[in-house]
Symmetry: C2
Amino acid sequence: MSHIKLLKTNELKATPQRLCILDTLRECGHATLEDIQKIISAKFPTLSLSTIYRNLNEMIQKDMVSEVKFANKKDYFEIAKEKHVHLVCQKCKKIEDFEIKTDEISRQIEEQTGDKVLANTISFDVICKDCLSPK
Amino acid sequence: MSHIKLLKTNELKATPQRLCILDTLRECGHATLEDIQKIISAKFPTLSLSTIYRNLNEMIQKDMVSEVKFANKKDYFEIAKEKHVHLVCQKCKKIEDFEIKTDEISRQIEEQTGDKVLANTISFDVICKDCLSPK
DNA sequence: CTATATGCAAATAGTTTGCACGGAT
DNA sequence: ATCCGTGCAAACTATTTGCATATAG
């Protein structure tokens, strides 16, 4: 879906600021606030920090954007998408997405605890292929 | 291991402040900074906030304490222990630990990506048994 | 006794809010 | 014309640091 449509669908006006924020997230895949601020201030110098904060928060409320937290790292933002886990390279710090089935684990938890599982948040620390065998 | 021994092992002096912080974490299982501050200021009113920050950071560095982050929640601290996942009740907000085998998933990731998996961080949003069927 | 830890205050960083202006419908 | 969004400044919250004093080993 285009970013304009995405905004309209969520009853938000398609302002240049919002489009710029979404473009930046799309481009980065995963971006910290600092990343976003740096990239945006190059493309759009007048876009203020409070606008970034306000819009990220709004988009998170509306589930257009997800906030992802990692131990020992700043928080990251990403455009909301299919459920996936994060693979975080401990060497180059790159974050990849990975699709995985978690039904079996959820079933196991429900069976052993009596709880009802609703969702999950999963990340793996890895050394990525490229860092394992540099060209 | 006693907290005194734990501190000695990590080359930290066993001050009353540090013991108080560890006792609080032990007692709570999982505690936010706010929890810690509140509980501690009752038991040990002169223990300063900067001491809490300094010591938590030190203990995290030394892997005595882990910082756990959840979406839409404050950060939690816990005494480092065996690998486990967190089950977070979305109703009563309680956090339980759960032991789980993740080798199979790690193997699957390594096979499909070529990455080397080192560790993982996993949490499940649940409705806990007690909230499902109140007595 | 000596090195480390603490408390306090100040500095710094991160985030939110109020308000007047500007642009879109 | 009205409403919503933005930028700016100020407020507020969170975290770290410098330094003099206290204390564990």
